[in-house]
Amino acid sequence: MDILGNLAHGFSVALSFNNLLFALVGALIGTAIGVLPGIGPVATISLLLPITFGQPATTAIIMLAGIYYGAQYGGSTTAILLNLPGEISSVVTTLEGYKMARNGRAGAALATSALSSFFAGTVATIVVAGSGPLLTSVALSFGPADYFSLMLLGLIISAVLAQGSVIKSIGMVVFGVALGLVGTDVQTGQQRFTFGIPELSDGISFVALAMGMFGIAEIILNLEKPEARSVLKTEVGSLWLTREEFRRATPSTLRGTLVGTVLGILPGGGAALSSFGSYMMERKVSKNRHLFGSGAIEGVAGPEAANNAAAQTSFIPLLTLGIPANAVMALMVGALIIQGIQPGPRMVEAQPDLFWGLIASMWIGNVMLLIINLPMIGMWVKLLQVPYKFLYPAILVFCCIGAYSVNNNVFDVYSTVIFAVFGYMCNKLKLEPAPMLIGFVLGPMMEEHLRRAMLLSRGDVMVFIERPISASMLAIGAIALAAMLLPNLRKGKEAALSG
């Protein structure tokens, strides 16, 4: 089947009533948590994971994906209106977007953000559809050694691109891999690190780990900070762009889409990195760069296009190689595995409904989000008036019931508590939890591929260097690590990630 035929099949899957409904629910939840500061997509997806188990895998992933890219739309609303980024990926939108709102062009900024996100989303959807099958055929020629090196590269880059110290992040990645090894050894059936607890023989609960480190730890950290949420004073105004604004925003949207599409595919990349990347680029190449800092529409169009494009293309490594590019994708791997689907290159062939349905639903979701966000903007602004002190009990009970309902076992809830304490501690020590989550997901797969590779090579480690694919992955990883030792680059990364 050609791509068009596949896409048509995808649309027939995505347009079924149930899938449409869940795409809408995902988009609505995504927008809501995007608008609300203090709740991110990682926490939300981890706490909604258990709810999706009752649904077919395709429906579940469609909804979870909707939350992720919905959050990119919603996050910009508060960034523009209140100078308060709802998500990390919309931090840069505050720089120009809020200035635009102060200049009385809040409506135009919101429209630019939604339209450029929509454009980027459409392009990214096409890229995912086109490159997916292509990459899959490449991936099928990978041997175990290549896979191992690829995963190692993914882990290194996710640590390099994480906020803060690279060595500490790699330490967290490694610890994540170790946690992933807890449970029954696949080959010998021996129990590892289970302390005789039967619940641990299937490994540490993924939901408990993600919920504790992100959901619960975030509640505690948010409560520690005094609430800084000003009441909206800005008028939204007309949503229409002037011709001049439209003309200025178009090239930035195109560039932002390109930056986002490329950075999204990178392991460790994703929405946040891309919006920073695009903003940096706009400030250098835009014709109106002298206007930056005083409400330049280019500084809204570019980053907003970039973060949405990246949110979608970061699905590419997951869908084709089975490797999560960031923490949200690690959650998707968790969701798929719990549904009994092993993510990897065979997924396109074996699960065409899932692959093409998801791609089609991405575009449908973008259309929904455009409608949800632009005409209904007033409703989302109202949502901001719900204070966090009313939200956190709701998040907490959702986590409790969610963690319990995965296996109908309270042990998972106790594990969540333990990971919450650990996550809180990590935050205080500036240890990044996101690389750990990726390590946790990849750990068991890495062990399997390492074992197979070494068996095939009769215990010869040189196999990782002799195979060209594997060798180039390792070389890229080494270069990425070495680059971080250069003081200039490190400062550049810090500047880019802290805004």
Binding site: I51, G54, S165, I167, K168, I170, G171, V174, F175, V177, A178, L181, D185, Q187, T188, Q190, R192, F193, I216, I219, I220, L223, E224, K389, F390, Y392, P393, A394, L396, V397, C399, C400, I401, Y404, S405, N408, N409, V410, F411, V413, Y414, T416, V417, A420, V421, Y424, M425, K428, L429, K430, L431, G443, M446, E447, L450, R451, M454, L455, R458, G459
Partner: protein, 201 residues
């Protein structure tokens, strides 16, 4: 000296976890590189973690200063006391009531007691109340039913926020709203298998 206290603690933490892991890994056969046993990959991983922890620790003496948050004397002493109380309660619980014998009840009551003691120290209050709320949920869920467990959980969680403590009626409102919402989502729509009311089974 510019000591980065956060990195010192991180390095020590990584090293300690790795050392514990290596020690526990002693039970597993390593096998050879060609035929890896269950202990081979954990060994590689924990040695890598040990090395990284050592680097973090070594660098911490040069890249500071980045001090840890100040602990008051109360914070530190309550941490120790809560661990002792929690362990004692957890160990004693099965002898006191058969309620704690099944589904990790003694673990739960021990953690709950520990967190409630810890909540006495202002520095730990938020963490302690949120975690205590979750432990209470686990303890009550199977025998007390979802509604009771949720009500107690929400009550304890609201203690974390000073504004809720002075407004019991507001907390009641939140509780009723959340009970209705959870009933509608989890029982009516998703139909999760759990007792809803006390003494149902």
């Amino acid at each position: 000296m510019k000591i980065n206290a956060k990195d010192v603690a991180s390095g020590v933490l990584l090293i300690l976890i790795a050392a514990t892991g290596l020690w526990l890994n002693g039970d597993h056969s390593l096998g050879s590189a060609r035929r890896m046993g269950p202990g081979y990959m954990p060994m590689l991983v924990f040695w890598a973690q040990m090395a990284l922890g050592t680097i973090v620790l070594a660098l911490a003496f040069f890249n500071g200063p980045d001090p840890l948050e100040k602990w008051t004397g109360l914070d530190a002493s309550m941490l120790i006391i809560s661990v002792i109380v929690g362990t004692a309660v957890g160990l004693a619980a099965p002898y006191i009531s058969s309620f704690f014998e099944s589904s990790y009840g003694s673990l739960g009551i021990g953690m709950l007691a520990g967190f409630l003691v810890l909540a006495y120290a202002a520095g730990w209050r938020l963490l302690a109340f949120i975690c205590a709320a979750m432990c209470a949920f686990c303890l009550l869920l199977e025998k007390g039913g979802l509604m009771l467990a949720l009500a107690v959980t929400i009550g304890i969680a609201c203690l974390a926020e000073p504004e809720h403590r002075s407004r019991p009626l507001g907390v009641l409102g939140i509780t009723i709203f959340l009970l209705a919402m959870c009933w509608w989502i989890f029982i009516k729509q998703l139909d999760i298998r759990v007792a809803v009311w006390p003494l149902q089974y």
